[in-house]
């Protein structure tokens, strides 16, 4: 086991897969000569050269489209969005080309492509730079969506994503790149589509992903101090959802809270809620609650931002509420 930052774990994943398969290349803004806006791709240009580490102008629709076309031709692009906020200008490429061309061509073309980059709020970047995009990209067929929160998951899932023959949207986080953790040595692959229990418990199921994980774990700790045991499930893959893992836990706890970075209306959170309601209807002892962004554009000021982003305290309140604990 090595202790790595998430950024390093991601880099190792890319590096290993580039070494393994000549068809894998990286493309995006500042990925090469600048060594990556957040240094995920640091050193890769030096190692693999300009053919395989491709700096682009600011043209997200353009280079996303180039990635899609290259994937159709048999290459395996890793397209970096400097942040997923900028993927908004490439939305059509992902929705109408990446997600559809295999089906539209009746299987003649396959698109092994990964779109990756940081997602959701960082710190005081205000509203255009603090958005969680999984709710958009989970909403249509033809893609898989992954969100990682630990170095081991980052490495294992990115390697699987690069080897997967489908278009994958892969979410990271600016504020988590420096988070450290143990990563198994040697070939380390984690299957796409499998959630993981990050903290076992019995009283309340807390479903989370991405930046939500740290909040959920902190809240579980606070709940534990009050004698309330939480089982924290990190979805890791958001599309397809690992219903089985969530259902098994909720059947046991009869209570469910979701904790995540993202707006409340619809999206991934509402989907999980709907599934739990439907699949565990007779097991639920309380309404499912969601702890996420307030339904607001993210303000710049730190005090306001803190109020909009979910906190362990807000998560704890929801946990208490589904457990019918008054405080």
């Amino acid at each position: 086991m090595a202790t790595l930052q998430i950024r390093e774990a991601l880099r190792h994943a890319i590096d290993e897969e580039m070494a393994r398969d000549e068809r894998v290349f990286v493309i995006g803004e500042e990925v090469g000569h600048y060594d990556g806006a957040y240094k995920v791709t640091e050193g890769l240009l030096a190692k693999y050269g300009e053919r395989r580490v491709v700096d682009t102008p600011i043209a997200e629709a353009g280079f996303a489209g180039v990635g899609i076309g290259a994937a159709m031709a048999g290459l395996r692009p890793i397209v970096e969005f400097m942040t997923f906020n900028f993927s908004a200008v490439a939305f059509d490429q992902i929705l109408n080309n990446a997600a559809k061309l295999r089906q539209l061509s009746n299987g003649q073309f396959t698109l092994p492509i990964v779109f990756r980059g940081p997602n959701a709020a960082a710190h005081m970047l205000s509203s255009t730079h603090s958005q969680a995009f999984e709710s958009f990209y989970c909403g249509f067929p033809g893609v898989k969506v992954v969100s990682v929160a630990t170095p081991a998951d980052a490495k294992g899932l990115l390697k699987s994503a690069i080897r997967d023959d489908n278009p994958i949207i892969f979410f990271e986080s600016e504020v988590m790149y420096s988070v450290k953790g143990e990563v198994p040595d040697g070939e380390h692959l984690i299957p796409i589509g499998k959630a993981e229990i990050k903290r076992p418990g019995s009283g309340v199921t807390v479903v989370t992903w991405g930046q939500g994980l740290a909040i959920a774990l902190a809240a579980a700790e606070l709940a534990q101090a009050e004698g309330l045991s939480c089982e924290v499930i990190d979805l890791r893959t958001l599309r397809p959802l690992d219903d089985d893992a969530v259902v098994a836990s909720v059947r046991k706890t009869n209570r469910c809270v979701l904790v995540y970075h993202g707006w409340p209306y619809g999206g991934t959170g509402a989907e999980v809620s709907d599934r739990v309601m439907r699949l565990c209807f007779d097991d639920l002892d309380a309404p499912i609650l969601r702890v996420c962004y307030e339904d607001l554009n993210m303000p710049y000021a730190e005090n306001l931002e803190h109020l909009v982003i979910p906190s362990p305290a807000r998560a704890l309140e929801a946990i208490r509420e589904v457990a019918y604990r008054q405080h």
């Binding site: 489209g65 031709a73 109408n96 009746n106 003649q108 073309f109 396959t110």
Partner: protein, 370 residues
């Protein structure tokens, strides 16, 4: 004349004078005769005269096959056998035929929803094409794509795309892969003049110029985007004025002759292939039908349509074959064979089954395939 024969037209990239192509008069029409520059260059390079009769007949027949396919599809549409959108290629056939004829193995065509002509020209089975329009299991893409999404990878047809401009970066990606793999292929990316004003197009062309990709962007300027004439799309009439800003070679002509168009385009393609010179080519052409089957085309005058009929490359092809000695009977027998092919295509499509219900689950993700 073989596709390798050198041609003598003036260098592309220098040919365009960025002159106005009379579109400001309210009536959009080809420049009045006499100016060879405005035409494909047939006269100046000897054009059709330098193609053998066999070759002329072959190219003419290919154009005719497209025209008859389209007419047949239009009929089937009015009979309710085809639904959705149906964008016909009638009038523009010479472009697909010229392109297919100059392509080398491995070369790719990426185009719009107006894609049947390329499929036919590239050798796709007309029955499979018709069956696709009919939404049948035997269709080119199994009935899931319909008119706007013909794909035939093995024939070099890398697809018909229906979001205007969005295929331009994708085509650049195909060319990127060619450069990455050094596979020697050229990608031909076709787009309407209406697609020249949307962002994805500009981004894709800049990337192609920046990375010197082996690609030729071909604007099929049929003067209208649906009902919008070029003068309400753009303040410039000559769209190759945009090429220097992306460091693309450029050229521009009226497509009135299939042989000359092929030859002129072939040379541009070889520079893209061998000399890292991607290009933007603007081909002035005309669609004789409405934008799609639902468009009566009221925005055009009969006068304008008639003016363009005079330069219809299919009519020219026919006239040249006559000039080369083919009789009415010869031409009728060519047509009869083509009509028979299209009748057979309809019969095949009619007789084909619809897709199996489970087919709708296929091909989204690789694991969906049985």
């Amino acid at each position: 004349m073989s596709r390798d024969t050198a041609v003598q037209a003036e260098p592309a990239g220098a040919a365009s004078e960025h002159g106005k192509f009379a579109s400001d008069a309210g009536v959009q029409r080809p420049r009045d005769g006499g100016d060879e520059r405005a035409g494909s260059g047939a006269a100046s390079e000897g054009g059709a005269a330098r193609a053998s009769v066999d070759e002329q007949r072959r190219l003419y027949t290919e154009m005719l096959r497209i025209r008859r396919f389209e007419e047949t599809a239009a009929r089937a549409y009015t009979q309710g056998k085809i639904s959705g959108f149906l964008h016909l290629y009638i009038g523009q056939e010479a472009i697909a035929v010229a392109t297919a004829d100059l392509m080398r193995p491995g070369d790719r065509v990426v185009t719009t929803y107006r894609d049947h002509g390329f499929a036919i020209a590239l050798g796709c089975d007309s029955g499979a094409c018709m069956a696709e329009l009919f939404g049948k299991a035997t269709g080119l893409v199994g009935g899931v794509g319909g008119s706007m999404h013909f794909f035939a990878r093995d024939k070099g047809l890398w697809g018909g795309y229906a979001i205007v401009g969005s295929h331009v970066p994708v085509a650049a990606g195909h060319a990127f892969a060619s450069k990455y793999n050094q596979d020697g292929a050229v990608t031909f990316c076709f787009l309407g003049e209406g697609a020249m004003h949307i962002g994805a197009t500009a981004e894709g062309m800049n990337l192609a110029g920046l990375w010197k990709l082996p690609i030729v962007f071909v604007i099929e300027n049929n003067l209208y985007a649906m009902g919008t004439p070029l003068r309400r799309q753009s303040p410039v009439d000559d769209l190759t004025t945009r090429a220097p800003g992306w460091a693309l070679d450029h050229d521009r002509w009226v497509v009135d002759d299939v042989v000359a168009t092929r030859n002129r385009l072939a040379r541009i393609a070889e520079r893209a292939r061998n000399e890292e010179r991607p290009a933007l080519v603007e081909l002035l052409t005309y669609r004789f039908r409405g934008h799609s089957m639902s468009d009566p085309g009221k925005y055009r005058t009969k006068e304008e349509v008639d003016a363009w009929r005079k330069t219809d490359p299919l009519a020219r092809g026919e006239a040249e074959l006559r000039g080369a000695g083919l009789s009415d009977a010869d031409l009728e027998s060519i047509d009869a064979a083509v009509v028979a092919e299209m009748d057979a295509a309809v019969a095949f499509a009619d007789a084909s089954p619809p897709p199996a219900p489970e087919h709708r689950f296929r091909h989204h993700l690789v694991e969906d395939d049985p």
